[in-house]
Each structure stands twice: as structure tokens, then as C-alpha cells.
């Protein structure tokens, strides 16, 4: 079978579900979201920093906007958008650091948009966006210096990270500062789990727009992702059964199951 055609069909199915749920969410239907503590804490971090008269540090990681880590960088930018909007109300822009200059441009755009009402605010917020270094070790050293020497109350590190995360995470832990970490790389997750107070594990980082800003497209994509996840799980289980029992006809049953499942979701969202 043509693999590209199969992938195209999958993508078109995903787009169909995404569009359908976006229309339904915009029409007023809201999905029930499970509680993620890291997002609850994130909403309070800026307020805490303002009360203590200190700043918040936001790390967008070592990812880029021009390779496979773009989605992780966009997830970090969603968090930055939310925090910048909060910061604009109190005029206390966060220190934003990143390892890739393309991400820097997006971060500058995000803080400028949030502070658009005041020219002085735009200048101050832009000054706090810092490109540190392209090498992960040098970037970690730069962030460690910020956490050590600047008046930072808490740090939020969401994006693409590798082993260097622990260097930064442990510095934050040593200072006892509020620390939220999140990445999609399973190899880095133990470091985040061990050093951060609140964690965003794996795909949770992509849910930032839905949880923090209630963006209809983000809410819809969570529902679409859940639907597709069940479909993939059914296909995996079906594949195991077919390979083990050598019952080729089982695929028909699985296809019917998937069709019934998707139809039931769509009908439940049409009510």
C-alpha cells in the first residue's frame, strides 16, 4: 500500500475532526478537562513574583522554530504568551531565555504584543528577552547565572530540553524557587520529575493554550487528539491480536469498532 496515501488519509481525518470540534467549541460546547496542577500553579506564579518584588524567569529551551522541535518551542511560547499578558497588567516583564535565535524573534513578538499599550513597557519587556548561546551546555550555564545572580522568584522551563535541564533545574532547586518544568523528551522527563515542583510531562506541554487561555482551537485539538489516540490504541491492539492469532478477518471487526467509536463521539458532540 502507498504509505504516503495512508499518511495523507490519516492527516485529512485529523483535520476533519479538528475542524468539527473547533466549530462545536466555538458554538459553546466545552470539553471537560482533567486537572493539571502545573497549570494551576502557573496562573499564580506571576502574582507571587509581583508580591515579592522579584522577577519570573521563562526558559523556552534549546529547541528551534526551524526543525523537529518547533512544536515544543511553540508550547513554550504559549506559556510565555499567557505570562506576558499577566505581566503587562503589572508592568513586570519576565526574563525570557532561549538557545535558538529564531525562537528569540517569536519571544520578542510575544512580549511586545502583550505590552503594546505602552512604549516604555515594550522596551523594558524586549530588553528582558535574552538569547544566550546555541550550545546546550553554554545555554545552561547562562541560565544558571540568571538564576544565581538576578532577582528571580520562580522559573518556568517549557520546551525542548536535554541533559542540561538538570543543571538549570538543580540551580533553581538550590535557591528554593518556584519551579515548573515541562518537555516532550522521555529521556529528560526523569530530570524534570526529580528537580521541578510541578511538571508537565510529554504531551501535556501542548495543552498550554487550552488550559491557560481557553483557546477554542486548542480545546478542540485536545478532543481530536483523544479521539485519534483511541483509534491508534484500537489499531495497535488489533494488530497484536491479528499477528498472534493469525485471524486476518479481525481487521474488519476493528474497522467497524473504530467507525462506531468515531460516530458515537461525533453524535455526542452534536447534541
Amino acid at each position: 500500500m502507498n504509505q504516503a496515501l495512508l499518511a495523507l488519509a490519516f492527516l485529512l481525518g485529523f483535520i476533519g475532526l479538528l475542524t468539527f470540534f473547533t466549530v462545536r467549541v466555538r458554538a459553546g460546547q466545552k470539553p471537560a478537562l482533567r486537572r493539571i496542577r502545573a497549570f494551576d500553579t502557573l496562573k499564580e506564579l506571576m502574582g507571587r513574583a509581583v508580591e515579592s518584588g522579584r522577577m519570573l524567569h521563562v526558559s523556552l529551551g534549546v529547541g528551534s522554530m526551524a526543525n523537529q522541535s518547533t512544536a515544543d518551542s511553540l508550547a513554550g511560547l504559549s506559556v510565555l504568551n499567557f505570562l506576558s499578558d499577566q505581566a503587562a497588567e503589572t508592568n513586570t516583564p519576565p526574563i525570557v531565555s532561549m538557545s535558538d535565535p529564531t525562537v528569540m524573534l517569536f519571544a520578542q513578538n510575544a512580549v511586545r504584543t502583550a505590552h503594546a499599550d505602552s512604549l516604555a513597557g515594550v522596551e523594558e519587556a524586549s530588553r528582558q528577552v535574552r538569547w544566550i548561546a546555541p550550545q546546550p551546555a553554554a545555554y545552561a550555564a547562562g541560565v544558571m547565572n540568571i538564576l544565581d545572580s538576578e532577582e528571580v522568584d520562580g522559573t518556568v522551563m517549557v520546551g525542548k530540553f536535554g541533559d542540561e535541564y538538570l543543571l538549570m533545574g538543580e540551580t533553581a532547586a538550590r535557591h528554593g524557587m518556584a519551579h515548573i518544568g515541562g518537555t516532550s523528551d522521555p529521556n529528560t522527563l526523569p530530570f524534570i520529575y526529580a528537580s521541578a515542583q510541578e511538571t508537565l510531562l510529554g504531551e501535556e506541554i501542548y495543552a498550554a493554550g487550552a488550559y491557560l487561555k481557553n483557546n477554542p482551537a486548542n480545546l478542540a485539538s485536545l478532543v481530536a487528539q483523544d479521539g485519534i489516540r483511541w483509534v491508534v490504541a484500537l489499531i495497535i491492539i488489533g494488530g497484536v491480536l491479528v499477528a498472534t492469532l493469525n485471524w486476518g478477518w479481525l481487521w474488519i471487526l476493528i474497522a467497524v469498532l473504530i467507525a462506531v467509536f468515531l460516530a458515537s463521539i461525533i453524535v455526542s458532540w452534536l447534541r
Binding site: 502507498n2 504509505q3 504516503a4 499518511a7 492527516l11 483535520i15 479538528l18 475542524t19 526551524a66 518547533t70 512544536a71 511553540l74 508550547a75 535558538d100 535565535p101 529564531t102 528569540m104 524573534l105 517569536f106 513578538n109 510575544a110 504584543t113 530588553r127 535574552r130 538569547w131 544566550i132 546555541p134 550550545q135 551546555a137 553554554a138 550555564a141 547565572n145 545572580s149 541533559d163 542540561e164 538538570l166 543543571l167 538543580e170 532547586a173 516532550s184 522521555p186 522527563l189 520529575y193 526529580a194 528537580s195 510529554g202 504531551e203 506541554i205 501542548y206 495543552a207 493554550g209 483557546n215 482551537a217 486548542n218 485539538s221 481530536a224 487528539q225 485519534i228 489516540r229 491508534v232
Partner: protein, 225 residues
Amino acid sequence: MMAGINETISWISRVGLTVVAIVVGLFVLADMFANQWAGEIFGIQGLKQIIGGVGYFLVIWTAIVVAFALLLGVVNVVNVHWGHIHARKSNSIYSMVLLVSLAVTLVFGIGGPSSSNTQFIFEYILQPLESTLFALLAIFIATAAFRAFRVHDLETFFFVLFAIIVLLGQVPVGLYLWSELPVIKDWILEVPTLAGARGILLGVALGTIATGLRVLLGADRPYTD
């Protein structure tokens, strides 16, 4: 009147950027599919080559934009650290060292990345410094483990239990304590850990696709928001 004109210009630029982003995104996506497509796409002669050619040019442009962003990054570094020196911050001596190092590296690097001067800086200054920093990971892992090994609920209990088994299974003393420990360690790494990692990767893949589609459909516009 002026406000109205500004709003119109802002709207046009927002729509323009979104259209450019969607069209470029669709072409690059089409190029990915075209590369994988067996034979001619839907039997149309030459379509594969056209999509491939446009996709190639767009990727080249990305490289140029990234190079320009790097230049802006250097300007940002100079700006930030010059600001530190100007404001006479407590650690501004480090900012001075950084700016001097930047200037020296730029002068030495004029010959290009493969010149002997640049190679010297990378081999004898940058790499040893990076290795030293990463060597700290050993200590940091120990302190992080010490903090993480405090059992306060069922989740942390399993975290600690599995960590101890893997730790003991990894070192020779584990074999002396109980000969089955390395076998259990291998099972933990190859079955539940791998299953968990694959579950996470499946979710990450779906999240990545959803993020990409939102940008592609213009629902997320990080370039204008």
C-alpha cells in the same frame, strides 16, 4: 482617522502573514508527501518535481532566515550585556569578559569554521569547558536523586522502588546480593519503562501533529499574536 488607518494596515499585515504562513506550510507539507509518494502523484506528470522544487527553495530560504536570526541574536547578546555594564550591575565583570570573548572569537574566526584558529578555540577552550560543565551532572544527579527519593505517596514509593532495583541491578554488588536483580532490572527497562516511553511518544506525536495542523490552518498564529 489615523487610528482607523493603523488598524486597517495591522489587519492587512495580519491576514497577509497568515496567508503566507499557510501557503508556505502547505507547500512544505506537500513536498514531504511528494518525496514519499510511489510513482507519479495521482498520475499527473511532473507534479512531483514542481512540488519538490518549490519545497526545496522554501527550505533554502528558511536557512537564510535562520542565519539572519543568528545575527540578530548576536546583537541581542551585545545589547543585554552592554546594558549590564552600563547599569554597573554587581556581576558586570562577567558581561565584560563575555563581550571581549565575543570580539576575540569574531576576530579569530574570520578564517571560517575550519580555520586553525577557530578549531583551536573549539578544541582547547569550548569543548573542555562544556565537558567540565556536564561533569557536574554526576553531582547534580546525586542531589536530585536524594530529593526525589523521599517517599510521600504511592507514586513516589514506586519511583523509589524501581530506582533502587535498577540501581542495584546495574552495579556488580547487585549480582552478589541477589543473582536475579540484573534480570529484574532488564525486565523493568525493557517492558514497563519502554511501554511507558512509547505511550508518552504516542501522545507527543499526536500533540505535535495537532500543533502543526493548528498553525497550518491559521488557528494558531504565533507570528502575529
